[in-house]
């Protein structure tokens, strides 16, 4: 089954996701390893939220090889 999406819908959704990401300001530099680990996990959470906002047709397979 194909989950169709117009280029306009795709561009709109992605623009929203990237704009949200750009609006985030960098947090202060962590003071110790525990804070650093929490900051890294926080960064991963924000990243996954950004990726989650990108709509994908169901038949889009992961990119594992490249060809000319």
């Amino acid at each position: 089954m194909k989950n169709k999406m117009t280029r306009r819908q795709l561009a709109g959704a992605i623009l929203t996701a990237t704009a949200t990401m750009a609006a985030q300001t960098a947090p202060a530099i962590p003071a110790n390893p525990a804070e650093e680990l929490e900051a890294a996990r926080g960064q991963n959470r924000r990243t996954s939220e950004t990726l989650a906002k990108v709509p994908l047709p169901m038949d889009t397979e992961p990119a594992f090889h490249f060809a000319a």
Partner: protein
């Protein structure tokens, strides 16, 4: 025969090869001269991981004997070079720039090292790098077993990374060429900051067997050289199919400048805002001048921009998960805490927690993004953008802080490093001037396996400019 003079240190490959064939210099003399220079000056820039001068001199004796017998192998025969310390050389330490691996020794050569030996090139040293090639990210230039790479143009500035020593060595005339690696920016960034020409090949064109893995679908090896011409010569020697690299594209590369297309036939996509609104103010005059030189070549400059995708989060997720998997034993052993950079330590640990669903989402968006990027090339031959938007940052400056100014609305091609790596595209970085006393550079990126087109434009650009021939103060 007298010892060669200092003019050899900034000579190109063809020039050195001609001197060898004319018997104006021997391979032993080249190995000794460059090896000694690398040993004496390299540590002052934190560029040297391991000297291999004696190793090179032994190999050079055999090369001289071959030349004497008339057995000529090609342009790299008798040419010294340095290799990033993530490439294994049998029986020698390969530290990956990281304290936990300081005593690591492999009993085989990386394919790139074997291929260069077969071409008659002489390895004079292993070159310093950011620990674990930067892993999932680092905050400070000091993230290296050998200390921060110091920029030959200003030691208070960073060399760029993670192929720090490779860029420093070529910029400083410590080696005629060097091999580095890029997962996302590790060739283009130090090349731009140090003012040398460098090529990131198409994913899969150069075997990574014997190189430290960081991210299986992103890692690439490529040359740092004095010119685009030299990049073509080195790439021809190191490219090729290798069954020991699962990512190998099974293709060779032949450098064929004689078949270059006319410049007037080439359509070059660029985003004007990259060179003005996005670029650091100090670099704008150099970037504007570079655009004018490009126009002067006769190419057709066409305004374009990358399709809108979250390139940074995609590449960040893929590298984080791959790196955490590669270095899981390091993390489990606790030795990860011996790394120099706290951000990298935390990033490796946190990478283990990223769900498979997030990784696969990044890889699926990657496929979509790659398809959309490639559509740009139905109307274009190459993309042109600043390699980096400004000159090298100061040593000690946090690298993950961004300029405190509003981002322009049009992203143009500013994400080209991440996008180009995600799509497996080749890119060529060309020095294009200075911001104050620091070099800046432009990049040309194209479809997979379009290296000859990038090199043809690069060669024409360098026929009209001399930025690639400039020498850092005190090193000429």
């Amino acid at each position: 025969m007298a010892e060669p003079g200092s003019e050899i240190f900034f000579a190109g490959i063809a020039e050195l090869n001609a001197m060898l064939r004319a018997k104006q210099v021997t391979a032993v003399e080249l190995a000794r001269s460059f090896g000694r220079r690398l040993e004496s000056l390299g540590p002052g820039y934190n560029a040297l991981a391991l000297p291999l001068t004696e190793h090179a001199i032994r190999a050079a004796h055999a090369v001289d004997a071959e030349i004497k017998r008339g057995r000529l192998r090609g342009p790299l025969q008798g040419i010294p070079y340095g290799a990033k310390d993530l490439l294994s050389v049998a029986g020698q330490p390969t530290t990956w720039g990281a304290r936990p691996y300081a005593a690591q020794v492999f009993d085989y050569d990386a394919t790139v090292v074997s291929k260069l030996a077969h071409a008659g090139a002489l390895i004079i040293g292993k070159l310093a790098m950011v620990e674990l090639a930067g892993g999932p990210g680092y905050r400070y230039a000091s993230a290296s077993l050998t200390g921060p790479g110091l920029n030959p143009w200003d030691r208070d500035r960073w060399s760029g990374g993670s192929s720090s020593g490779s860029a420093i060595a070529v910029a400083s005339g410590l080696a005629p060429f060097a091999i580095g690696s890029e997962t996302s920016g590790s060739i283009l960034t130090p090349a731009a900051f140090c003012g040398v020409t460098a090529l990131r090949p198409t994913y899969g064109l150069v075997s990574r067997y014997g190189a430290m893995p960081l991210s299986w679908t992103l890692d690439k090896l490529g040359p740092f050289c004095r010119s685009a011409e030299d990049c073509g010569l080195v790439l021809e020697a190191i490219a090729g199919s290798d069954h020991q690299d699962p990512g190998s594209a099974g293709k060779s590369f032949y450098y064929v400048p004689q078949y270059a297309r006319k410049m007037s036939e080439l359509r070059v996509g660029f985003a004007a805002g990259d060179f003005t609104d996005w670029a650091d103010e100090s670099a704008r005059p150099a970037f504007q001048q570079a655009l004018e030189v490009m126009r002067g070549l006769g190419v057709q400059l066409v305004e374009t921009k990358l399709p809108d995708f979250p390139y940074g989060p995609m590449v960040g997720t893929i590298i984080s998960v791959d790196a955490a998997s590669v270095f899981e034993p390091l993390i489990a052993s606790g030795k990860v805490d011996e790394l120099a950079d706290q951000k990298q330590i935390a990033g490796l640990k946190a990478g283990l927690d990223i769900p498979a669903s997030v990784y696969l989402k990044a890889m699926r968006i990657r496929r979509l993004a790659t398809r959309e990027i490639f559509k740009l090339f139905s109307d274009l031959d190459v993309l042109l953008a600043p390699s980096r938007l400004g000159p090298a940052p100061a040593i000690g400056e946090p690298l993950d802080r961004h300029p405190d100014r509003p981002a322009p609305l049009n992203p143009g091609l500013t994400a080209l490093i991440a996008a180009g790596n995600l799509a497996g595209m080749p890119a060529l970085s060309l020095p294009c001037g200075f911001a104050g006393k620091l070099p800046v550079a432009i990049q040309l990126a194209g479809l997979p396996f379009s290296e000859n087109t990038l090199l043809a434009i690069g060669r024409e650009f360098q026929n009209r400019t001399d930025w690639h021939k400039r020498k850092p103060p005190g090193l000429g």
